[in-house]
Amino acid sequence: MREVMTKSMARNIFYGGSLFFIIIFLGLSAHSVGYITSQPTHQTLDASVVAGKRVWEENACINCHTIMGEGAYYAPEVANVMKRWGVDDDPEAAFEALKGWIESQPTGIEGRRQMPRFDLTDEQIRDLANFLLWTGTVDTQNWPPNDAG
Amino acid sequence: MPALSNRLIAAWAWLAGLGGLAALIAAGVGQGVPRRAAGAAILVLAVLKARVILARYLDLDRARAWLSGFGWAVTLWAALVLGLYLV
């Protein structure tokens, strides 16, 4: 019987093909970085937004919430939360709304999911609000489909 | 130079001829060739070219069952594209 496949050729095709796809992937990755950094949102990324992202991370928010659909699925999406609250064009109102929300937690209502109490300074809350406002301005190809997130 | 394969030369001539014909038909769409018929003809020519490559370049004329299998797959694909083109 004829040998329909030799191991050395199979190996060569595997390594060669993988290299081919890795190169294409890296090229597209580089292009995507160029695209992201040329977006208007990259210009509006100020120190407060970056500090707010850090607040988001230090408190492990992503392990209950999703942001741009990624995270845990225990609590609502937050990339569009400011729009949902109707404060996406008013940073001061966004800050007030977020402060009010955070400081009223946990509700302790029986049978309701509880958000822990996070002891944040006003500055941290303002940064977090700015981060969420900024996230809401990223061009996400119209995702999520509606304000419910 | 050792001898050229006549079968390969014939395949090359077919591919060149069919490709040229498709280009001519496409160029004629503005000059009175009906658009829908041209689309159908261009896709038929594409299927024929694909079959020539499969049969001669990829040597599937030594495995007729595979040739007809690939031929059908390409034909169905072209039919799908034509369907999307004509609706």
């Binding site: 595997f14 992201i36 230090e58 225990y74 946990p106 | -």
Partner: protein
């Protein structure tokens, strides 16, 4: 056991199984919080429980892979492991790092500290010092196994395994890169998460599965290794550009929708090939290996990986579908069956195969082990269905009709109860598994006895 240093694997498997127990317990607790949300809400909030659940999963799977490498590399390369001391040192670093991470999460120590505090990006929440420890441990590991392989025989199985492990370690380096721009952050975060589970981990999986098939079925090495190359080629050809299915909605260019949809649709192919491979090998194989439980786990792994990673992944990978299902319980359903089928089962298969050899007690009681397979697999499959229904309802109510998130969640309670019930089965199955492989059962077996007494 042909080589003395294969014994190293025992310590790794023990740590892995201990973390496995923690992982499923944390999962069960999280499942309980879903149905009874006030539980522990002040002492141990949901986000901490979930970090324990997901982090311990990742760590125990990797520890298991490393143990598997220490077990099979001596046999494949026909050499003792380069340095057993380094291997134990490496495990010590991993254990200290893991405990450090757990303590940091639970007590929220060093809040916000750049080096000691929790980092808070999903799955890579470990404090920076733990990340550094992981890298050091990985370097020790790679040095150790690479030296072993270089000195000995090189087979396709060890080549692919090493490639996978090197890729795993190198990609983890992206966890140190955290740009302020969330879109960039996510783009490279997926370099770790996606290129692990749908890239290099598949190499590790395929090579360990190939090793098991080689041992369990007695099919020619030549045949097994050719299949291995076909499978890993299909995995990387589809999986690398398949990363695009995570780049739909995070602020990356729109072309990823098409690249991601087309290539990730093909990601089902390598999983199908793995399943076909496993079954064909068993049919072709002439060897009647006494370790039936290992065979059951291997076939179960290939089958459940095909459904969990392949079919359930395909269900929501096309961007037109994903637009509505992204970030719903559909993702959770896929995640659970995919991880269980592909990587949990794989680890449990190699544990089942190796533990009797390491403990020098085969043939042994396999009924408990096989029972744990059905209990755990049944539980995870039921959980997957429950979450799939939950996700479908959620998608319709929340994404199509636009109902409020929490209102929708209240309507999903029945599915969360079902998931919790399934979780109990999984935890019991996991404990049964650990008992079955870890506790030696003294059985007097006549040499050549056709069956083990328990069968």
């Amino acid at each position: 056991m042909k080589y003395e240093t294969q014994k190293i694997a025992l310590a790794y498997f023990a740590v892995a199984m201990a973390l496995f127990a923690i992982q499923v317990s944390a999962g069960l607790l999280a499942g309980w919080v879903y149905v009874s949300p006030n539980t522990l809400s002040e002492l141990l909030p949901f986000n901490i429980i979930r970090m324990l659940h997901s982090n311990s999963l990742v760590v125990w799977l990797i520890t298991g892979f490393m143990g598997a490498a220490y077990f099979l590399i001596p046999e494949e390369s026909e050499r003792e492991i380069h340095s057993p001391t380094l291997a134990y040192l490496q495990l010590l670093i991993l254990v200290v790092g893991t405990l450090g991470a757990v303590v940091t999460y639970v007590f929220d120590l060093f809040h916000g500290h750049w080096l000691l505090g929790m980092e808070g990006r999903e799955f890579i929440e470990q404090p920076v010092w733990v990340k550094v420890g992981i890298v050091v441990a990985a370097l020790i590991f790679l040095y150790n196994v690479t030296m072993t392989v270089l000195a000995g025989k090189k087979t396709a199985i060890t080549n692919i395994l090493l490639l996978g492990l090197w890729g795993l370690a190198l990609l983890f380096l992206f966890s140190f890169y955290n740009p302020g721009n969330l879109s960039l952050d996510k783009q490279f975060w997926w370099y770790i998460v996606h290129l692990w589970v749908e890239g290099v981990w598949e190499l590790i999986m395929a090579s360990i599965l190939a090793y098991l098939m080689l041992k369990l079925t007695g099919v020619d090495r030549e045949v097994v290794e050719k299949w291995l190359y076909v499978i890993v080629a299909l995995a990387l050809f589809s999986g690398i550009l398949g990363t695009g299915h995570h780049y739909y909605w995070i602020g990356t260019p729109g072309y990823w929708q098409w690249i991601g949809s087309i290539f990730s649709s093909l990601e089902v192919v390598p999983f199908f090939a793995m399943m076909a491979f496993a079954f064909v090998m068993v049919w072709k194989g002439r060897r009647d290996h006494p370790n039936k439980a290992a065979l059951l786990w291997s076939l179960g792994c290939a089958t459940l990986a095909f459904f969990g990673a392949g079919v359930w992944g395909f269900l929501h990978t096309l961007h037109g579908v994903n637009y509505y299902t992204h970030g719903t319980q559909i993702t959770a359903a896929h995640g659970h069956l995919a991880f269980y089928g592909a990587y949990v089962s794989l680890n449990l298969a190699i544990f089942t195969y190796a533990m009797p050899i390491l403990l020098n007690r085969d043939p042994y009681n396999q009924v408990l082990n096989m029972g744990s397979f059905w209990l755990m697999s049944g539980g995870v499959v039921f959980m997957t269905f429950a979450l799939t229904f939950a996700g479908t309802v959620q998608t319709h109510l929340q994404r199509v009709l636009g109902e409020n998130f929490m209102d929708v969640q209240d309507q999903l309670a029945i599915f969360y109860w079902m998931r919790f019930g399934a979780g109990i089965a999984v935890v019991l199955g996991a404990l049964l598994f650990i008992y079955a492989v870890a506790v030696p059962r003294k059985e007097i077996i006549e040499p050549g006895a056709a069956e083990t007494p328990a069968e």
